[in-house]
């Protein structure tokens, strides 16, 4: 059973596993895998906490009520599953600043945090604008041959590659 605790598996095996999980999600839950809606709902929950029921009058929160649902638990499970994999393979590491970032932009945790928050804002905003993320569109949508998803995933990568090249090659000069 040693393979279960090795830190890294073949990407093809992992992809096969995720493909199988997608099938299970459709079969057992009649749902595609997806992650961004969980964040939208949690955002609504937080707004509800601070602004009370006034927050629920927002049209978007009537479309996506701030409740704990299947996808919310899916994302909670992702945290847990990654934790189990990390702990069992001895690769759980508290990291403030990832290596590739540090090598290009320095070790400052504050700088990394600011960039991460800004990046996160674009991710959260863009995912809801596009109606899904790399799981919902990138995997689930493309395997269903949805036109919206094929277009979205191409744009995810065009935007991502362009921005990464601009940030690391041009701005940070590495």
């Amino acid at each position: 059973m040693e393979w279960l605790t090795t830190a890294r598996w073949s990407p093809y095996l992992v992809g096969l596993g995720i493909g199988v999980l997608s099938c299970l999600a459709f079969l057992l839950s009649n749902k595609p895998l997806g992650c961004s809606t969980a964040f939208a709902r949690t955002s609504g929950m937080l707004e509800k906490m601070f602004r009370g029921d006034k927050a629920l009058r927002k049209k978007y929160y009537r479309k996506f009520p701030p409740i704990i649902d299947w996808e919310w638990l899916l994302v909670a499970g992702v945290i847990a599953g990654a934790f189990i994999s990390a702990i069992s393979s001895g690769s759980f590491n508290i990291v403030l600043v990832p290596d590739v970032w540090a090598q290009a932009a320095g070790e400052s945790a504050v700088t990394r945090w600011v960039v991460a928050v800004v990046g996160g804002i674009f991710i959260g905003f863009g995912a809801r604008w596009a109606g899904g993320c790399t799981s919902g569109h990138g995997i689930s949508g493309t395997l269903q041959l949805a036109v919206s998803s094929w277009i979205a995933v191409c744009c995810f990568f065009i935007g991502g590659i362009a921005m990464a090249m601009l940030l690391f090659r041009v701005i940070l000069g590495v």
Partner: protein
């Protein structure tokens, strides 16, 4: 029997959590909960992300459509428009490079100890989602509807049987993966 399972809310929450555990476990084993792997993919130095996604799509596409042909699954394609898919996609891409995670992998990163994912990523994604929710009424009747094509699938659009699309796409994916592997990535 499946329909009853689908309607059982309690069971569904558990199933969602268990599938999530599997998903997070696999994402971590694949290395894609690591900022370095994702950014190196966007810099076209490491193709782990694309290999995993293409393989998942290959397997899932065939599997889900087979299940559908057997009457065991229904498709739920997302609706879209040029306004939502293109602009939203590009905005997401920008964030993808800056944050170095996506909503699924950021959750996995948190599980593996990445504090930038927790303190930076989670915070930002929640803020961004909230901003969208506030702007939604202004966006939904305008830009989000531009070039609307609904939830059409490629087979529907091309007016062909789904396998007429699935077979060539599968061959294309295998070809791409072979090419990437052969190129030394």
């Amino acid at each position: 029997m499946l329909k009853q399972l689908h309607r059982n809310k309690g069971r569904q929450l558990l199933i969602g959590f268990l599938i999530g555990i599997g998903f997070g476990f696999l994402l971590h084993k694949g290395g894609v909960t690591d900022y370095n792997v994702i950014v190196r993919q966007l810099l076209l130095e490491d193709f782990t992300v694309v290999k995993i996604m293409l393989t998942a799509v290959l397997v899932g596409m065939i599997g889900v459509h087979l299940l559908r042909n057997l009457g065991l699954a229904q498709l739920h394609p997302k609706p879209g428009s040029c306004g939502t898919s293109i602009i939203g996609g590009l905005i997401f891409g920008l964030g993808f490079a800056l944050l170095g995670y996506c909503p699924g992998t950021v959750a996995g990163a948190v599980g593996s100890g990445a504090l930038d994912a927790l303190l930076g990523g989670f915070t930002g994604i929640l803020i961004g989602s909230g901003i969208f929710a506030s702007l939604y009424p202004f966006l939904e009747k305008g830009i989000l509807k531009r070039g609307d094509f609904g939830s059409v699938t490629l087979p529907e659009w091309l007016k062909v049987n789904e396998w007429v699309v699935i077979v060539p796409v599968s061959l294309l994916i295998v070809g791409l993966l072979w090419w990437i592997e052969n190129a030394g990535y």
